[in-house]
Each structure stands twice: as structure tokens, then as C-alpha cells.
Amino acid sequence: MSAILSADDLNDFISPGVACIKPIETLPAAPEPPASNSYEVVLEDKAPRTDLPPAQISLTDCLACSGCVTSAEAVLVSLQSHNEVLANLNAHPEKLFVALISPQSKASLATAYGVSIDVAGHMIERLLCSPEGICGEGRGFDFVLDTNAAREVAVRFAAEEVVTAMQGGKDGVDGRKMPILASACPGFVCYLESTQPALIPHLSMLKSPQAILGTAVKSLLYNDVKDGVKGIYVVGVMPCFDKKLEGARGELTSGAWVEGEGEVVRDVDCVITTRELISLAQARGVDFATLPQTPPLLPPSNTTSTLLQTLKSPTNPTTTATKTNATPGTSDGYLIHIANHILTLHPSSTLHIEPGRNSDTIDYVISTPENTIARLSRCYGFRNIQNLVRRLKPAKTRALPRFGKASATTSQRKPLAAARQAGGKSDAEYTYVEVMACPGGCTNGGGQVRYDDEIIASGLGAGTQKEWLGRVDEAYYSSTEDEESGKEDAAAQGGEWVERFVEEWEDRTGVSRDKLLFTGYRKVENDLGGRLKEVSVVELASKDGGGW
């Protein structure tokens, strides 16, 4: 277990569940100890628990169980740590190593080391690919990609998905339900799959930028490397721990896009957090702060697909256009891009922003003088997710249990139900919700550098996490602003670029975009109730949580 992964560092507001199925299933009965006194009666609950092997829990186990909602301090993420990355670099030097860097990670490191976000990107590249970095002491990475390009692909198709779903009216199309909920946050996806499966039809089918880029790297390069898909090792550097869960998803493997038999590998083999990237540097004796701030001169690699190089090129215009003055948010700007797209389709419409109860819940209403075209909402953090989920839940699960003698109560309940319908806006009118599990969005991920971290360059520390986060957000927005400058019709250009890229991607691989860009979700059964009678849950409770 990674030393830095502790309860203190996790701020994604998701905690371990009541009971993990794993220990219950796998703990073997204690072998009978050799009795020192054969007349001694050993009570079952006092039987010595010796010789028990430690329970092994992998992320895949966790994904198969809703005992825990998601990653937590109790989960051993030994398969997704910087040590695992180093072990693979050492053990398989023949593989092609690719790192995918999130813009939020770059913003966090830029703030911690007092450099611009672009310089932070160069330093990360130096760290992973150059002799000044980890290559000085062994195998390093072959190249580094920024997930910004994949983000543009994602927001473009997210807008398409929402507009298509809008044509189906209230019920959406193809069994989709409105509103569409963003699926880029793996914490939220896991939460829905395990605790709110009824809402799965709302989830966007689009892969996250990390997953899209992972698929792109493997699908475009595996024919060029020895051992095919197994010959490529992709590492994501992400702002949160939950991205590790995404990396481990069964849906996001080569099995989804490679025809025929053969070993299935993950599209992203390993995910480390921003903070773990620094631990990786330290493990190879590299001080990140002293790395050169210019991009490394990498030898031209003939195995690198030219198509992938277009993803690396920094000249791509961003699609986070400036039709509105709204900030794109800290989580890849899905909502704003979708809003812009809808505004473009309805030239007479305008955008109106309605602030919510707190800064993590904001409504964006697109309307013409006559009617409302779409209502989009930003919803970050567990408390706001609770309100969203409660309002979206089908009436059935909110059905009121019968109380007392039913006949007399039915009539009295009606006015209440009616009042509830009338009061407040129904969420059926929502078109899209950009949901993220972390308050403050992705720049505030649990895997980011925190305000009191020892690695922060002297003089750059902040008094509170809030103040620190403000600076990280500033760094994050600075990159999008640079790219936007002077691009009036950026949206259209970006759209063309993305379309060309995806078409060529389909041509090169012979795989349709349905498989390259989209994915699916499944209900994670919580069968705790079936397997354990309440009595044993009670016993478990009294042992684990200190009783009543």
C-alpha cells in the first residue's frame, strides 16, 4: 500500500462500506491449534487467530462489490502505485512506456513549484523521458501525452450525445434517460453502479479523456510493437485516486476493440496520482524542482504513430470556446462546451447562469425569449450529488411505506404528494449535469498536492486548502485561456480537427467509434443482504464499529 494513500489524503468523500465481502468470503476457518490442555474448552470467538494469511484485495475485487463504494484507505492499491510503475520499468525494458498527463495534475505541480502550467508539462516530460529525470537510473518512458487533446475529443462527442438525446424529448433516445449525467468522474460512476443502479441509464456512454487516450495509444501502436497490446505499458497521471478504479474497469480493455481471441490487457495499465508522480521521482533520486524547464529533445521514434503525434501537437485549437463568459469549470469543461454547442445550434438563444446554494452547484439555462431549450447544471461534491440523486430517483423507490391502517391515510397523503410535485423545479427538465465527486471539481482531487505538502517550494505555501485550490484553479484556467486567444470560431475548427482525427483513427484500426469512444456500465450487485442475515450483520457491526 502506498505510504501516501491514507485517510487524510482522501477527500473524495467516499468511505469504506459497512462490510467488504472479501474478508468474509476468503477468511479460512482457523485451524485447530494443538491443544496444550485437551480438556480446555476454546470458545469459538476466543479461538486463536493464528496462521491466517493476510487478505488480498485487488481493485478488481472492489469493483465487483458494493461493500465499499470506491477506493478507500482500506483498499490495497498495490497494483496501482508508483512502485508498480517502477517495477514494470525495471522488469520489462522491452515494452513501450507511455504516460498520459492530466491538465489538473500539471496545474497542481505548476502551483507547487512556482512555474507556468506549460513549464510544468515540460518538467514532467523531462522527468519521465530524459536522463536528467528517471532515465538517469534505468529505464524511463518513451513518450508523454497530454490528455488535453483527448479532452477535446470527449467534449465534442459529449455535446453530440446530449444533442441527440435532446431530440428524444423527456425520455431521451435508445433507452437513455434525461438528464444525461457526465461519466468522466469514476468516483461518481462507481457510486451510481453500486448504490443507485436505477440511474445508470442517465450516464453518458462516453469514455473519459484518460480512457479515450489509453485506447488510442494501444489501438494505434500495438501493430508496431513486439508482443502487440502486451508490449505497451500505459500510465495515467491523474488528480484522483478513483481514476485507478477506472483504469481497472473490465469494460476498458483491449477486449473491447480487438477482434478474436488473445490476451486482454487494460487500456491504461496503471494510474498514479499527481502526488505519486513526485514519489516516483524521489524513488529514482530525482528532485523535480531542479529539472530543466524546457522540453526535452527526444530522438524521433519510428514506432510512434504519426496520428498520435497530432494529439501531442500543442497547436490544436481548443474547443472550449468563448461564446460565454462562464468559466469552464475545473473538470475538463464538458458543460460549457455542450452549452456552446447548443447555443450554436439555436442562434437566437442566450445563456443565463443561475447560481445555486453553493459554488459547486450552478445552473446554466439556454433559452429563447419564447421557451427554454436546455437546462444544464454543474454538480460537484458528495452533498450536491445527494440532492441530485434524490431528485432523479424514480418515484417507486421513494414510495412511502404504508403506515397504520391504509384506507384512512391514502386520502391525506395526496395533497402532500401534490405539494411536492408543485414545489421546486422538477429535474426532468434538466438536459445535462456535469457531475464530479470532489467538491471544487477535478483540480481538488484527492491525489493532488495539498496546501501543506512538504514538496511545495518555499514561499509558495498557502494557509488553507481553499486558498491553495484557488491558485491551482488559476493555473488550470491559464492554459485554456492561452489556447483560446484570438480564436473566434475555435469551436468549429476544433470540431473539424476532432472529426478528422476520429475518422483516421477508425481507418487505421478498422474499429468503429462506438467501440473506441464509448463504453458501458453495469449494476454492481450488493448481495450482502442475501448472504448475511441481519444477525450476523449485527455481530459484525458490534465487532467493527464499536457497537451501538
Binding site: 459497512v18 421513494r398 412511502l400 404504508r402 403506515f403 391515510t409
Partner: protein, 387 residues
Amino acid sequence: MRLQKVTSVPPQAERVWQVAIHPTLPLIATASSDKTARIISLQTYNSLSTIEGGHKRSIRSVAWKPGLTGESVLCTGSFDATIGIWRRYENDLDAGNGDPGDDEEEEEWRFALVLDGHESEVKSVAWSAGGNFLATCSRDKTVWIWEEIDEDNFETLEVMQEHTQDVKCVTWHPEEVLLASSSYDNTIRLYREGFEDWVCCSLLEGHTATVWSVEFEKPASPGYREEWGSRLASCSDDLSIKIWTRTSRSGSAAEAKKAPPSILRGESIEENWVETSTLPQIHTRAVYNVSWSPRSGRIVSCGSDGRIVVYEEIPAVDTEMAEGDEKKPPKTEWKVMAEIEGAHGVFEVNCVQWSKRWDKNAGGENDEIIVSCGDDGVVSIWELADT
């Protein structure tokens, strides 16, 4: 003085976890393992109605919403991880002492809605003084704050994960929007509404085992002294009952003078609380509950050892404590007024609450009784007798 039993209400099928006294009407609500909540008259001590059918597991906690007229709203927190809100019109309440066997009564409780979100057993529920906010806590280590934005439409305002273990109890300050929670992690935490979030404004450490319950002193209490500020009583598995006093809070005039304004820190809402008394230790096993009377200022406690104990504060001699700039609230002594063993036979006593006396023997506004409940499913009524 001694504790004398007035009467006992016939037992429920299973243990009663908690009793809650209605803020204005002569009613008790119980929380029971039999998945029901029972409403008992404080005038006749008869059972008036039973609220059932809403929860799949034990009801662990109940709370009456304050500040209502003409209607009663009861909140139930259950081990099934949900919270129920129940409503009943109170137009005929005065008739409650008339015919206790009247079945019609029962049907007037309406299950309004269920609040879910907690991942495991709900341990305690509490309404804020004005009834605007509802706080709930759970074995999932979280404390939730809910607000009713329109009738029967609740929003989650905050989910706080400050405790590292099971949270046992939540309680609100009688006047301020200040929430306290206590936990299996041995600590008490206080929360206030900040600029945009609810934040933990104080951490009270001193107990060496689970803090089972906490309760603020009411300003009406005779022992309340404005100059020393609010007090909080806590009881624990470490057998002790402690009194904590607030010594400072930012925003107060004194504090503002002391600390220069800081742009970096923003408006701090931290509070300082210190332990100012430890009550005489009578209990020999875990102390589960304390109740602080607004009428007499007395404290009553109960616990796993089956005892009910009443304490009274020895009035502090008004010595000048202010020396230099450091003002410290006086440490006061408490004495035991009465105690009884085996209050519920061999069973544990889970909860005790002071209540105004409403029955036919009531001797004025300040006459009071103690309501207790235990693992025997019985609710008992006690009075303090002179002999």
C-alpha cells in the same frame, strides 16, 4: 433526596433506545428495536399511538421538530440507514388524556418521506433550535445536515467526515446554529455554518473512550452564566461525565480586539472550549446518556450499570477570576443528589430525559420528572422525593 418511580408504561416488544420529549405538548416519543416509535401521554402515561411500518430495522433515535403549532413532526433515525419524517395534526390533542384506547388516534400519523444517503446505521437525529436544520449521524462516520427547503422537500446541505469512527450522537445548541457530535473516536466536534460550507469549529478531546451523548445547557437553566458562555455536558464509556465551557469564539468583541484581521485566513469561526468540571463518578459501566434540566439546572445520567443518577452543581463562590488578560471560567464542583440502582431491573438504561411534569400531581411550571427507558422495553417515570 431520592428517586422514586411514579409509574412505568407497559413494555414494548423490544428494547427502547431513546425517549424524546415534545417541545411544547405533553408527549413522549420512543425509539425501539421493534422498528416502531410509540407516542406516550405525559398526562396519563398511557400509550397513545404507535408509528410503524416505515423502517426495516430498529429505530435508534427520534426527535420532535420544534417551533410548530397545530402540527407535530417527528423524525426517526433507523439502523436501516434511513431517516423517516412523520406528521400529525394536533387539533385534538387535548383529548389525548380522554380515551387512550381510541384507535382513531393512530391513523393520524402520516409517513411524509424517507431520507436516505447514509451508508450504514443512523445513530442519532436532531433538529436545530428553530427547526430549520436537521442533523443526522451514522456508523458510516459522517454527520449530515439537511434543510427542508419546502414542505417535505429536504436538501443535503453538508456531509461532514470529521470523525474517524462511528458517530454516536448529534445535538444542537438551544439558541445558536451550532451543532455538536460525539463519536466512538473519543472526541466531540462542534460545527458552524461558514461562508459556504459547514465547518468544524472546535474539537473537544479529553474522554478516553466512546462519547455516547452530548447535550448543551439551556440558557434558562439556573446555573447558566452569561459571562462564562455556553456549556456542554458529555458522557462516555470511560465512566465519566464532563462539563465543557466555551471560553472564546471569533466574531465576539473580545476576540476581534485580540487578533489582528488576517486576509489569508479569511473569517475564522473557530471556538475554544475547555473542560471545566467532571461530575462525581458513580456509574460502574458505560454512561449512555445525560440530560440537563432547563428548570433546575440538574443533570441526570444513566448507563449500562442500570443506574440513574441525579447531580447538582455546587454554586461557585464568585471570586474574581480575571487575572491579566487570561479569563478562565471557574471550575465548578457537582454533587450527587440521588441515585437508584437497577432502575430497569437487570437491564441497561439507555436514555434519561428531564421533562416538565404534566400529570395530575404536577406542582406548577417548575415541577419536573425524569423519563427513562431501557433494554426491557419499559419507559419509566421518576420523581425526586424529599425523603
